[in-house]
């Protein structure tokens, strides 16, 4: 199902992660583990964090507790006032082993991105440890005591999280073929919220263990668990919201106003086009909801339009249905942007917002291509191209053609 048109970045990332892990394992095996109890405690924290990780929006894996614990271990220089002796290799080894252990249930459930997630985790921890541990062991940090040390840690962590965002965007780009720029922008945006919390928590954990010893770990994990819990609940309610909208959008299909699966197909294709045009994640959500509900205005009609084919109706009628739909959407408490997209989907394309142009073109394509046999898609695209003067925006039609040429509809998480 997944297209293997992977750029070079995927093997490069995986190979470097594997090399780093193997080297670390060998070195640690030869030198033995320093401060075993400390390693065990951090390993347990990371493993628990991994166990409770979940799938965020898009292809993002979220494990704030695991990430913060791993970074804190990489940036740990002291334990209750005594110097620690774990170096880069031990940090990577412990984090790798703990993450692997915590991922066992996820692997058993057959969720594919575990490999990418592990590679990312190993590389970021390696980066942080390489930046910090040699400085710490060579005694360069003696000049950076007190508050300066805290600020140094924070700066290092910010750098690490930025690297992680680039890595995540590169992996997502390699897996999906979506443009790199918008992916990176979305990663950085999510870094602002969760990433900053992870950064701060990693720094606090490293500092608190340096001051108070291992007791700091359970004490400070408690508030972080709270963060994780609210994040999960937020993610859960977002999922149910999406399910509700997708299900209720099917009401038009059940009512016989539109053919089965039409709303879902338009939503999936619209999102692919939106991605191709570089929309951000919030914009994509608006686009998805609007595409799901674009036909809801037909519920207000006393008799169904034949086969739900609104694209063939006179423009005035189309606009009336769009306005009715906008009114329904406005009542539903979904973001008003969605309502705007729905009610302006029949306007001339020059006056429309981008999302409405996408919905209009994709809807027309879906209706024309649906029952037109094997060469339907080509004919439908041709018709759209001919109509680009006023009805369909040329850049959207071109993007649609690109998306269809790539066969993007079979992507996981979209189709």
């Amino acid at each position: 199902m997944i297209r293997h048109r992977c750029p070079l970045s995927l093997p490069v990332i995986h190979t470097s992660a594997a090399v780093l892990t193997l080297t670390s394992l060998c070195v640690t095996f030869r030198t033995g583990v320093h401060e075993g109890f400390l390693a065990l405690a951090f390993g347990a924290l990371v493993a628990v964090g991994e166990l409770t990780r979940w799938r965020g929006p898009g292809l993002r894996e979220i494990a704030p507790l695991g990430a913060a614990g791993a970074l804190a271990y990489a940036l740990l220089g002291e334990n209750a006032g005594l110097h620690t002796h774990h170096g880069v290799c031990q940090s990577v080894t412990i984090v790798f082993a703990a993450s692997l252990l915590g991922s066992v249930p996820h692997i058993a459930r057959g969720r594919s991105p575990t490999l990418d997630h592990l590679a990312r985790r190993v590389l970021t921890v390696g980066f942080a440890a390489v930046c910090f541990q040699p400085l710490c062991h060579s005694g360069t940090l003696a000049a950076w005591s007190g508050p300066a040390h805290a600020l140094l840690l924070l700066a290092l962590l910010t750098l690490t999280v930025l690297c992680d965002a680039v890595l995540a965007a590169a992996l997502a780009h390699a897996r999906t073929g979506w443009p790199f720029g918008p992916l990176l922008r979305d990663e950085l945006r999510s870094t602002l919220c969760i990433g900053s919390a992870v950064c701060a928590t990693g720094a606090v954990m490293a500092l608190a263990v340096a001051v108070a010893g291992l007791w700091a770990l359970p004490v400070f994990s408690l508030p972080l668990l709270l963060t994780q819990l609210s994040l999960r609940r937020y993610a859960a309610v977002r999922t149910t919201y999406r399910q509700t909208i997708a299900s209720l959008a099917r009401a038009t299909e059940i009512a016989g106003y539109t053919p089965a699966g039409h709303a879902l197909r338009v939503a999936a294709l619209s999102q692919a086009v939106g991605r191709d045009l570089g929309l951000t994640e919030p914009e994509l959500t608006v686009l998805e909801y609007a595409a799901l509900m674009h036909d809801i205005g037909q519920l207000s009609l006393v008799d169904p339009v034949p086969a739900g084919a609104t694209a063939a109706l006179p423009v005035e009628r189309q606009r009336r249905i769009a306005l009715l739909g906008g009114a329904v959407v406005r009542q539903t408490g979904v973001s008003p942007q969605v309502a705007v997209v729905v009610e302006r989907q029949a306007d001339p394309c020059r006056e429309q917002p981008l999302a409405a142009r996408i919905v209009r073109a994709v809807n027309a394509y879906e209706e024309k291509a649906r029952d037109a046999g094997p060469d339907g898609p080509l004919k439908a695209l041709e018709e759209l191209r001919l109509g680009t003067a006023d009805d369909y925006a040329p850049e959207v039609v071109e993007s649609l053609a690109r998306v269809l040429a790539r066969g993007c509809l079979t992507l996981p998480g979209v189709g």
Binding site: A210, P223, Y241, G256
Partner: protein
């Protein structure tokens, strides 16, 4: 709540005076002065941010000051923020005094306990397993004092029974404040460590993010509920004469479920089951739903498809759980003469039996274009008459008990005045007759 009773005013002023006494011995050591000012400014800043985004007190800073300072100094920390806080209703001054006084007293008592147990030394030397003891005691005392004071004002101003208020307030606040207490403790330890206040500030970032996410969660949940409600209103409008019916059925289902002693989660599911029971009517042509005159058998069959349409629509919404089967089976009858599957007795899911009773009850007690609303006792009698053949006697008995105890006062958010005479007489629909 514009007018505050005189005894509540006296209570607030008395508490305010006591709080003033707590503040009176000024901080002795000079070294505390800048810590107090810094923490007070920090707390005020956090509250300002918190007020715009979410409601509630930002406890980590308060608790950090409890762990760092002697009582009189710690009690000063919440003062500026509370006195400057934004008050929406009159009397402004009294409310500000109340907010300040309760926090001052709570923080003072907690800091007193913490100091008495040698907590400050433990924080200074980060003596770890020991520092947890005084900190836990301080958190407990803070919660106790706040619950006690809040219970008092509830009893005086709103005539709530004080003992029940105390019993409810304390357990509800203890867990969140304890979690914030660990963050406060970490903040205090780092503040006193060589890394200084900069490191302590870092503790606030994850807490802030946690709050932000929590507020987002609530916003999203409200939006979700609004969406469901609005789409149900779409059914009501399409059906033409059943304004608010879905929501009232949801409320009646909740009444029955509570009376049967179901747990809160299941009660919530039954609320959704009641609200969504007729959502399948979205799939029935509007022309049929609004048809004047008698229905042909074929039209009747089309309308009887609505439970299956409804099930098809809500099938993919996983949080609805067993509410989905209630949507499918709410027209089944106990003797097996219902539709769509003609299930009988215990084959019908429990929640569907609840919704069936609630649906029939509301259909009888609200105005329909083909029949006037019947009085509640008549409707209950009718239900009891049909219990055993159409309805589950347990559910009917539960509804009768609940209504006879607290009455039937459905509140519907979208209740608009019905426009009488708008629709001509319509024959009774199978979906609406008991």
């Amino acid at each position: 709540m514009e007018a505050v009773p005189a005894r509540a005013r006296v209570y607030v002023i008395a508490i305010g005076l006591v709080a003033l006494l707590c503040l009176l011995p000024p901080p002795t050591a000079r070294t505390h002065a800048w810590v107090v000012l810094a923490l007070a400014a920090l707390y005020a800043g956090c509250e300002q941010v918190a007020r715009r985004r979410f409601a509630g007190t930002f406890y980590p800073v308060l608790l950090a000051s409890v762990f760092l300072l002697p009582p009189a100094a710690a009690a000063f920390v919440p003062l500026p923020a509370a006195l400057l806080s934004h008050v929406e209703r009159r009397p402004f001054l009294l409310r500000r005094v109340w907010r300040a006084a309760r926090l001052v007293l709570g923080v003072w008592a907690a800091a007193g306990v913490h100091e008495a147990l040698d907590g400050c030394d433990a924080v200074d030397t980060s003596d770890f397993p020991y520092a947890l003891g005084p900190a836990g005691a301080a958190v407990l005392v803070l919660c106790l004092v706040l619950a006690l004071l809040d219970g008092g004002i509830l009893a005086l101003a709103e005539k709530a029974p004080a003992r029940r208020a105390w019993r409810e307030l304390l357990p509800r606040s203890l867990a969140p404040v304890a979690v914030h207490g660990t963050a406060g403790l970490m903040m205090a330890v780092l503040w006193r460590s060589p890394y200084g206040p900069v490191a302590a500030l870092l503790v606030l970032l994850p807490m802030g993010v946690s709050w932000w996410v929590y507020a987002q969660y609530h916003r999203e949940r409200d939006a979700h509920r609004a969406t469901i409600r609005a789409l149900v209103q779409a059914v009501d409008i399409k059906d033409g004469y059943t304004r608010g019916h879905s929501e009232r059925v949801g409320q009646a289902s909740v009444l029955i479920a509570r009376e049967l002693g179901m747990d809160e989660e299941r009660v919530e599911v039954l609320r959704f089951a009641g609200i969504l029971h007729d959502v399948g009517k979205l799939g029935v042509p509007t022309r049929l739903l609004r048809k004047d005159g008698p229905l042909t058998p074929e039209e009747r069959r089309v309308i009887e498809l609505h439970p299956e349409y409804g099930h098809e629509i809500v099938r993919g919404i996983s949080f609805l759980g067993e509410a989905r089967t209630a949507v499918l089976h709410h027209h089944e009858r106990l003797d097996g003469s219902g539709y769509p599957y003609g299930l009988a007795g215990g084959q019908i899911p429990e929640c569907a039996r609840v919704v069936a009773v609630a649906d029939a009850f509301d259909a009888m007690t609200s105005n329909r274009s083909y029949s006037r609303a019947r009085p509640v006792p008549t409707a209950l009698e009718e239900l009891e008459r049909c219990a055993g053949t159409h309805f589950d006697p347990r559910m009917v008995a539960a509804l009768v008990r609940a209504v006879s105890r607290s009455g039937w006062h459905p509140a519907v958010t979208a209740d608009e005045p019905a426009r009488p005479g708008e629709r001509p007489q319509v024959s009774s629909l199978p979906g609406a007759r008991p």
